[in-house]
């Protein structure tokens, strides 16, 4: 269970966050949410698919990291073997929320950063283990916290952008369900279900007007990046086979 509290310079002076990569710290995930602004980096390492949030049924783009629950092929003991680590992984253990900020106007809001105190990355106060501090001795946000806020804000914008992107894909019936069946060298079969991908045949029938609109909105580039990212599956299968020895 999570236990989110608002980050506070008085309460969290001595708190540290462990930023190394390992299964114990929660990095052993099969896929993670992503968003179009990140697609360029994601597609250079991972296949991009679409899946549904089980709580709402709403679609979101996801970077595939493994072929089964709890299996992240990019995690090698204590390091992440890829040139880019998805933002939703790097944001841990923080979340961003927004509170009304009447001092800046009627509808203005200000970002509020929360931290999950039960996340294994949070190093107990007074513990000497290494990690990043959130505040300097004067109580000002550390460089780490400032970077974190920057990441959280871009994630927030990304998730907002996702809504429009997904709505456009659905409106034009550009998503289709697919099942990935993989046979590994040891003869075992892996079947990935519940994922969706760009319906390429449908994409080819879009009118010039729609394509122009998608181009202006930035969706066209995202669509093609998602399609191109498909070829990353091959590298993942090789990785998996290599692990099997």
């Amino acid at each position: 269970m999570s236990n989110f509290v608002i980050v506070d310079s008085k309460l969290h002076t001595n708190l540290k966050v462990n930023t190394s990569r390992s299964a114990e710290l929660g990095d052993n995930v099969m896929y993670t949410m992503t968003y179009p602004m990140e697609f360029r980096d994601i597609q250079s390492c991972y296949p991009i698919f679409f899946t549904k949030d089980p709580d709402s049924g709403q679609f979101y783009p996801a970077a595939l990291l493994g072929f089964e629950e709890g299996d992240n092929l990019f995690l090698d003991k204590d390091s992440w073997q890829a040139t880019y680590i998805p933002m939703m992984i790097r944001r841990q253990p923080f979340l961003i929320g927004f509170q009304p900020d009447p001092s800046q106007g009627k509808d203005a809001t200000k970002p509020v950063v929360s931290i999950d105190m039960d996340n294994p990355r949070v190093v107990a106060q007074g513990n000497d283990e290494s990690g990043e501090t959130l505040f300097d001795e004067a109580g000002n946000p550390s460089e780490f916290l400032q970077q974190t806020i920057g990441r959280l804000e871009s994630i927030h914008r990304g998730l907002e952008h996702n809504k429009g992107f997904i709505a456009a894909l659905l409106e034009h019936e550009l998503l289709e369900s697919f099942t990935l069946e993989i046979t590994l060298n040891d003869g075992s079969h892996n079947k990935l279900m519940g994922f969706y991908t760009i319906a390429e045949e449908k994409l080819q029938t879009l009118s010039g007007d729609t394509l122009a609109k998608f181009n202006t909105q930035g969706y066209l580039q995202s669509i093609y990046m998602a399609m191109a990212s498909f070829s990353r599956i091959r590298a993942m299968i090789d990785k998996k086979n290599a692990l099997l020895g």
Binding site: K52, D53, P54, D55, S56, G57, Q58, F59, L170, E173, L175, E176, S177, G194, Y196
Partner: protein, 523 residues
């Protein structure tokens, strides 16, 4: 005689009228810009006659009916106060005590390959038939939904139909028919029926829109059957000697708390001379008592209904309940299609809603008209004969299937239950079937199933839910050993599936709340 059939006039705008309009208009393209040249569908609805709110339960067939019409399931749930129905739970039908059994919509597991009924017999003391062969009875006992929010619209984990608010449903269909399917809606009272030389209906006269001519008239005017009954005089064949119930007291009851669970099946609780339906919508429960006025007084029937409400909802709900009385004569028209007029809905017939057969008959009737729409007047009588044969057969099967619920009862506490088992009240065909079922269980190769209303699986659920005994086969068959081992596997698979669904499916209310917040995806 070679007049092309291209102008259909529907008289009556309840669920029967609008559902028929939607089904036919979804199949035949209406092109309003062609004026009187193309296919036209006109629905004439009286602005003065309120629709009767019956038929709040549907069969699973309604999913494909809505989908074909192009209605989004999310919109349907939001607009019609709809809920999921996975079958019926019958209480007190066997003995009048605490007995109960389920009739789920899902057929027994592996139904296409092995008949599990004989294999269940040896375990009948340990597990109910429905629980042994289907995961669904336990799911609806837990008030769980048949799917998840991430399941696409109209798809499912276990088969389902709906409970709905009939008034709101008619309104959604009206909007969809007029705005999306090109149906012409005329609000007027029918004042005359004008005949052609050949005895057909040439047009109907109205108070505000003059005469409305048509090639085919569909009578959806309810019990009074304005065209088929009043005008053509096609009589009702009474079935009161088979099915005794002819009166209903209906109430709408609010939940005590807006988070109270919503049942995901229809509850049917047997009474001294009838039974009480209990249909859970997200906003309210529709609870009513349908009984035989020959066996029960209105006063006593109303007492039984109030007692049910007091026990299952609250004393307070019972105290403030207001009841509406509906009388009907159980039966159907001697024929449904006469000359250029066909009746759909209560104009065709009406019986107690024990297996929610009202709306499915509308769906089947309209679908057959849509599919077999006669090309011209010359061949209409041939299509009419087909239609009449098919629907007379279907009515007979429905009546027999409902009757089966009563004659399997062991209740002796009132003349009603004893009279129901009187030989003279049992149709011959049903009596023959029961004689046969004492030696072999119903199976899907028993009949030419295309026109069957109820699959053999439904007969199995009722028979074995009601403790009916089918004797074990006297001889051994060559396939016994293989079937036995396959049956064991199927029972185990069903148990596994049930356990998995029990943990993964949300409650009925949770899922309905999510549909209102997020909606279903189309894929």
């Amino acid at each position: 005689m070679n007049q092309t059939i291209q102008k259909i006039v529907i008289v009556g705008g309840g669920t029967a009228g609008w559902l028929s309009a939607g089904i036919i208009a979804a199949e035949h393209r209406i092109e309003p810009q062609n004026g009187s040249d193309g296919f036209q569908l006109i629905l004439v609805e009286s602005p003065d006659i309120p629709t009767i709110g019956v038929g709040e339960g549907t069969w699973p067939s309604m999913r494909s009916t809505l989908q074909k019409m192009g209605i989004s399931e999310t919109e349907f749930f939001r607009e019609c106060s709809a809920s999921f129905k996975q079958g019926t739970l019958f209480n007190g039908w066997r003995t009048g005590g605490n007995d109960s059994y389920s009739h789920p919509f899902t057929a027994p597991h592996g139904y296409t390959e092995v008949n599990l009924a004989p294999h269940w017999q040896s375990a009948r003391q340990q597990i109910d038939f429905a629980d042994a062969v289907s995961p669904q009875s336990v799911l609806f006992a837990n008030r769980q939904a048949p799917k998840q929010i991430s399941t696409p619209e109209y798809a499912f984990n276990v088969n389902y139909g709906y409970h709905l608010d009939a008034g709101k449903f008619a309104e959604l269909l009206r909007k969809h028919c007029v705005e999306k399917l090109g149906v012409t809606h005329i609000k007027a009272n029918v004042t005359a029926v004008n005949s052609a030389d050949n005895g057909d209906i040439a047009s109907i006269g109205t108070d505000s829109h003059g005469d409305i001519a048509g090639d085919l008239f569909i009578d959806c005017s309810g019990q009074k059957a304005m065209l088929l009954g009043d005008h053509f005089g096609v009589p009702v064949v009474s079935k009161n000697s088979v099915l005794f119930n002819n009166t209903a007291l209906a109430a709408q009851i609010s939940y005590s708390d807006s988070n109270d669970p919503i049942e995901s099946c229809t509850l049917s609780t047997a009474q001294s001379a009838g039974w009480i339906w209990d249909i859970g919508l997200p906003t309210r429960r529709g609870i009513g008592h349908v009984y035989s006025s020959d066996h029960n007084s209105e006063e006593h029937a109303s007492e039984e209904l109030l007692r049910y409400i007091a026990t299952t909802v609250s004393e307070q709900a019972a105290a403030s309940a207001s009841m509406r009385k509906v009388q009907f004569s159980p039966g159907h028209r001697a024929k449904f299609w006469h000359k250029n007029c066909v009746a759909i809905g209560m104009s065709a017939g009406f019986i107690e809603p024990l297996e929610a057969s009202a709306l499915v008959l509308v769906e089947l009737s309209a679908a057959m008209i849509a599919e077999q729409l006669p090309a011209n007047r010359g061949v209409m009588d041939l299509v009419a004969k087909r239609f009449n044969d098919k629907f007379l057969y279907r009515w007979e099967r429905i009546i027999e299937f409902l009757k089966l619920h009563y004659i399997l009862s062991q209740r002796t506490d009132s003349p009603y239950w004893r009279d129901n088992r009187e030989g003279s009240s049992i149709p011959d065909n049903l009596r023959d079937q029961i004689a046969l079922w004492q030696h072999q269980s119903p199976w899907h190769r028993d009949t030419n199933s295309a026109d069957e209303m109820f699959p053999s699986a439904s007969f199995q659920y009722i028979l074995y839910g009601m403790d009916f005994e089918t004797a074990p086969s006297a001889t051994r068959r060559s396939s016994d050993q293989a079937a036995l081992s396959r049956a064991k596997t199927l029972f185990q698979e069903n148990a596994n599936k049930r356990a998995q669904l029990q943990t993964s499916l949300p409650t009925n209310r949770d899922l309905i709340n999510k549909i209102h917040s997020f909606g279903f995806q189309k894929i």
